[in-house]
């Protein structure tokens, strides 16, 4: 990679990053910053082709930062074309919100059956209570309750994750409403204060790619994002 830090920098990020990126990005580092709908995550194929289309539309060879994780294989198979791609090496945004892969694994190992809520999911994504209401409209109350039970009966915890105490305060009431609904499966409610450390480190790597360690995936021009690169 010949001085890739001199390449124009483009960030294509999930809207979830909106609460962190603008405050942390230094002036002049990024040439283009585009956010995409949270909802793309729910249909991984849609995420793949939306991002591929965005990458393909950029002509000048650039450093393209994907503000995503593997996201249910949504990034698997994306081609770099003439660009260099930089991606946080995480399964999904929960590790980014928590601040590190390690923290995510700690939480995962402590309570594998955790449903994570975040600002993004509460605002435009989905959560069990919203799903229930959608199912009631489609299938009626009895079947909706049965379907929900099939999907969530093994979960143990509902966790609200945010990287600032202010966000936790802001989304508590909404999260608690979901928590009350989830009590039927014995799910307990917890709040987890995350951190913006991962995003800060990503910004450092953008400025100097050689700082990338095993918390980041770099795909050189001509390469392709592969699931294996994310599995650790």
């Amino acid at each position: 990679m010949a001085s890739p830090q001199k390449l124009p920098v483009v960030i294509l990020a999930c809207e979830i990053m909106k609460s962190m990126l603008p405050d942390l990005l230094p002036d002049g580092l990024v040439d283009q910053l585009t956010y995409f709908d949270y909802g793309l995550h729910r249909v991984p194929n849609k995420l793949t082709w939306t991002l591929q289309e965005a990458i393909d539309s950029i002509e000048t060879p650039s450093l393209i930062v994907l503000g995503y994780g593997l996201c249910g294989n949504g990034l698997n198979g994306i081609r770099a074309r003439q660009h260099t791609l930089l991606i946080p090496r995480v399964d999904d945004c929960i590790a980014i919100l928590l601040g590190s892969h390690k923290k995510y694994m700690q939480e995962f190992e402590a309570v594998p059956g955790t449903y994570y809520l975040s600002k993004g999911w509460l605002e435009s994504g989905s959560h069990p209570l919203k799903e229930y209401h959608e199912y009631v409209e489609k299938y009626g109350e009895k079947d909706a309750a049965w379907v929900m039970d099939q999907q969530y009966r093994h979960y143990d915890r509902l966790a609200l994750v945010a990287h600032t105490p202010a966000d936790i305060d802001k989304y508590r009431a909404q999260a608690e409403a979901v928590a009350r609904y989830c009590e039927q499966w014995g799910m307990r409610y917890e709040e987890i204060l995350g951190s913006d450390v991962y995003v800060r480190r990503m910004i450092e790597v953008i400025a100097a790619l050689e700082k990338a360690d095993d918390d980041f995936v770099i795909v050189p021009p001509g390469g392709e994002i592969r699931q294996e690169q994310f599995i650790r």
Binding site: G72, N73, P112, K138, Y139, Q150, Q151, I231
Partner: protein, 212 residues
């Protein structure tokens, strides 16, 4: 395919439990063989559901309703199959791997394998590699099927294969894997014998392995 069988398939696809059970009861009362209803009515319906789900045209709640409809009819058909002494296709052990609590997909595979004539031992969810090993020793299956819904837990599949190797059991069974994040290339990488992208193709693959 007869009209009745087509209607049974449709009731599975539409997830209509009442219709599915009623049509099956009527077909049985009219003298139709249980295995005909299963092979040409219920299974093709669920095959279709599996393909449509993978293609993104059907969603989890719809698949669940279809499975429930089929299960309802299976409850009527099953005792009649064993009564006619239908020979077992083979034995299969299924489980969702360690750290993973998602069992909808695995349950579907269990149902399809049962429909395909397998004796199914469903270990459940969050199954440690050692528990798979123990079950292989006790149950002596032809096939071990593992499921994971998370990229985080996919690694447990590799650990389970290693545990089977260490116990000297790896060459006694075929290992199949599946689940939303699982791919053929991951299956190759960890040395699984097969990857299936939906429950219907899982049961088809299991049949091939059992014959081999």
């Amino acid at each position: 395919m007869s009209e009745v069988l087509a209607a049974i398939s449709t009731s599975v696809i539409e997830g209509n439990l009442n219709d599915c059970v009623k049509l099956t009861q009527e077909a049985l009362a009219a003298g139709m063989a249980a295995d005909t209803i299963l092979d040409n009515g219920l299974m093709p319906g669920m095959d279709y559901v599996g393909v449509e789900f993978k293609a993104g045209n059907m969603f989890v709640p719809e698949v669940l309703r279809s499975a429930r409809a089929m299960q309802g009819a299976m409850d009527l058909v099953r005792p009649l199959l064993s009564a006619t002494g239908a020979s077992m296709t083979g034995k299969i052990i299924l489980g969702t791997v360690k750290g993973d609590l998602h069992d909808i997909g695995k349950n579907l595979v269990a149902m399809m394998c049962e429909g395909a004539g397998f004796e199914v031992k469903d270990l459940g969810k969050n199954i440690e590699p050692d528990a798979f090993v123990k079950a292989v020793k006790e149950f002596e299956p032809n096939i071990v099927g593992m499921s994971a819904l998370l990229t985080t837990t996919m690694r447990s599949m590799e650990h389970t294969i290693k545990a089977l190797e260490e116990a000297g059991l790896r060459d006694k069974v075929k290992v199949m894997i599946g689940g939303a994040p699982v791919t053929q290339s991951f299956a190759d990488q960890i040395g699984a014998d097969g990857y299936a992208s939906n429950a219907a193709s899982a049961s088809e693959m299991a049949k091939k392995f059992a014959k081999a």
